[in-house]
Symmetry: C2
Subunit: 486 residues, 2 copies
């Protein structure tokens, strides 16, 4: 009997009997898997969905439920707030945020179809209040729909595409919209006849010649053989909780200690690679430290341990955080003046590293050489008073001089502060969700979506909230629809 | 008939007739392939070596022929110059230079055995004059043996391991020791009966069950089937000339425009992955711009477009260059004073971006805000006069104040200056050169060495001259010896 392994498909010829027969088998019940299942069922396929845990959710269920949507003149929420968002601007931002060698075809397809995707989400039952919440938020504290969720209005992105807020959040009071979002998608999937098997961990794909024809799942500690006549959709998430994979593919992530997700173990990536797939952008990860809370801290200035600024701080908090983690010295400082300092949130685990009545005093308390941090702040304040930041292009209204002492430096320590992170690399897929081999040809019968693939959020430095869920839900749908075609 | 593809092994059952039969087939005739062939032959195996080009060389032949060697109390050249180099220090440096998640077992093995490897190289006929050439050199301009070729004496490396020069260069007048090095290795291989086939490009591996049993090579435009009873050793180099692979695995390399190597197309990596191998550190690349020539330029100070320093400039030129390429703005400036400026080498394609009688004037000419570059240089000069660099840890004798005007800023532009680069990522192999699958098990009959693998030089920011050839030659030997065991 052949070995059952994540690392290579099991030969169909050695399957003695199929325990389950379906047309499309979806692995993983986060947003990507749910959307794939819904579309496959809508296309007329019989669908079984296998989830390792006892219920739906995945990393999506732990998220804010924010989806990056725009283009086509704008969504209802964008237009109501006066933001006309063209497809060209939206697509240009997706490409800029996706970083070097992003999958441009995916950006272009989603750029054209995001409005239709928004309508589809609503048709599944996802509620949107339709309003715009101004300001700088990680997630809306109320049930608002639309927030700024990226670096659209910040340099250099604002020079590449006309800015608009595009983070669309399910109507839900407070943080944590991901759970109700998945609930709606789960309900839709079940209503369409998707058969959900929980406590069912995928162990191996089953291959017949070139074609993936099924999957082996562990149920009640037994391997069960699932025939999937039309195909298997992998939607198992990233690999942030798989230290072996991170060591091999994402070494820089070891600067940080707070992986987030639903025990994402990279199983789908391993399954896809074992079937001849290709994995790209594997070194990329998202990270953020919630430094913009309280909101007045968004007006702060970041310096590294050499007292140097390194970013326009009006960028998305995750971009700022990711650039921070590139700085030497294991930490950065968030500089605030009396007008903007409020006690930081406990959960961010920031500490007060220095204070003073002048920036010279702060500099000395941080044991930086004279003329470093103080020179940085002299230039910053002088230019900010003129409404400009010639070094990094920070813009008003976030651009304000920090000149009302006393002053304070908060330490964001990569090892001890709360820098949550998850991986962005994964299987290379076509715009239809087909898993591609290294030559670029689809592997028959194998599809994937979400963070076990590389998609719209391909670059940690450009990540914007909602990009991953946009990718999961939209390309999950493509994968499900394509799988149903067989 | 099965398809002949780099991306998947050809089934042995479909081979009608073998055109060649050997025990060990080595693919690629750079230093790694040569050393693999020598050791396999020495172990008693019949060996055929297939090279795509009309002669030996590969990227090794284009290199300086420098091999990173130390430990064990020091080589003859090290000891003669008064450097006692312990295995502990040597190994610690290998690990530090190898960067996050380097293969520690490879560092430890080479750390213990480098002195023996040096003796082996001599036994093959590689001549070493045995002397030490002080100073800062990219390669010796004469026929000296030993130079500083890394960041050993610079922070933070000097705090992790006692520094010693370890770049050992073949006795050869002037630059370009790689060609004579490969010539010696080729002569040794041929003397040991290795059968060399040139103009022979590898097209596919041949697999029988789990085992790699041969290779298909194109000779005279025909596929020829080579049976390799004991195994195949891949030694085909990196993928710097394969833009498709770079786009997928090494996007940041597109900041630069001067790939170096021997048309390294990643074929061995594709062959290994197709056989179930694993590729790691694929995003890593070495780069350098020859900014330390003329040597007085080594005393310069680097700033980015914000007028900020970013590195202790006494590091290895490649580490400085790699960190430069991380800076925003597409370029950095090398600042020099009248005491150190000499017209730069034409081939470096540097330009004079600004001059002045004070650093304020240079700052203004570079259109930087007042108080940026000038403040940087005020701190730098003040501290350098005290013999210290509290920000980046640059050390004497390279640490000198730049205060004798007129002053000059040379522009190193990532797109237009000469930033040569090559890739560092590749197949994951055991310390014996076995190609490992994603689960960490050896793929029977398949071995690899050199830049189609990931080895000692796993981190562009820590690269030191001689690390790649040390890896190629030493782990090439391990792969050849292991392959000969069958």
């Amino acid at each position: 009997m052949a070995e059952i392994s994540l690392h290579r498909p099991y030969p169909a010829g050695e399957v003695r009997a199929w325990d389950f027969e379906t047309e499309v088998a979806v692995i993983g019940f986060g947003a990507a898997g749910a959307c794939a299942a819904i579309e496959a069922a809508d296309a007329g396929a019989r669908v079984m969905l296998f989830e390792r845990n006892s219920g739906s959710g995945g990393a999506s269920g732990l998220s804010g439920g924010e989806i990056y949507i725009g283009g086509g003149g704008g969504t209802d929420a964008q237009r109501a707030a006066g933001f006309e968002d063209t497809t060209e601007d939206f697509t240009a931002y997706l490409k800029a945020a996706g970083g070097p060698c992003v999958d441009e075809a995916k950006c272009e397809l989603y750029g054209r179809e995001a409005l239709g995707h928004y309508a589809w989400l609503k048709a599944q039952g996802v509620p949107y209040r339709g309003n715009y919440l101004p300001g700088k938020h990680i997630e809306p504290a109320d049930d608002s729909t639309l927030i700024w969720s990226g670096s659209e209005a910040a340099a250099p992105f604002c020079t590449m595409a006309k800015p608009a807020p595009r983070g669309h959040v399910i109507q839900h009071m407070g943080w944590g919209g991901g759970r109700p979002l998945v609930d709606v998608l789960e309900a839709s999937a079940r209503a369409k006849g998707v058969e959900v098997m929980t406590d069912s961990r995928a162990l191996a794909l089953v291959q017949d010649g070139e074609r993936i024809v099924g999957v082996i799942v562990r149920i009640d500690n037994q391997p069960r053989f699932v025939r999937a006549a039309k195909g298997v959709v992998l939607a198992t998430g990233g690999f942030v909780f798989n230290e072996t994979m991170r060591r091999k593919y994402c070494p820089d992530s070891f600067r940080l200690n707070d992986p987030i997700g639903d025990k994402d173990d990279g199983a789908g990536i391993e399954l896809g690679l074992g079937a001849g797939g290709d994995a790209v952008h594997m070194e990329q990860f998202f990270t953020t430290c919630p430094w913009t809370m309280p909101e007045s801290h968004a007006y702060g200035v970041f310096v590294n341990t050499a007292g140097q600024r390194f970013i326009n701080e009006d960028c998305y908090h995750g971009r700022v955080s990711r650039c921070a983690v590139d700085q030497p010295g294991g930490k950065v400082y968030l500089l605030l003046d009396n007008a903007h300092f409020v006690q930081p949130m406990d959960f961010a685990r920031l500490s007060i590293a220095g204070t003073g009545d002048s920036w010279d005093e702060v500099e000395a308390e941080l044991e930086m050489p004279a003329g470093t941090l103080s020179a940085t702040m002299a230039v910053y304040n002088r230019e900010a008073r003129l409404g400009r930041d010639p070094l990094f292009g920070k813009r008003e209204p976030i651009l304000v001089p920090l000149d009302q002492g006393p002053f304070i430096a908060l330490e964001l320590n990569f090892a001890t502060s709360y820098f949550s992170f998850f991986t962005l690399g994964g299987l290379r897929t076509s715009i239809d969700g087909e898993v591609l081999d290294r030559g670029g040809a689809p592997i028959p019968g194998l599809y994937a979506a979400g963070r076990c693939t590389s998609g719209l959020p391909a670059w940690g430095h450009g990540y914007s909230s909602g990009l991953s869920l946009a990718d999961c839900t939209f390309f999950g749908r493509q994968a499900g629809r394509r799988a149903a075609r067989g």
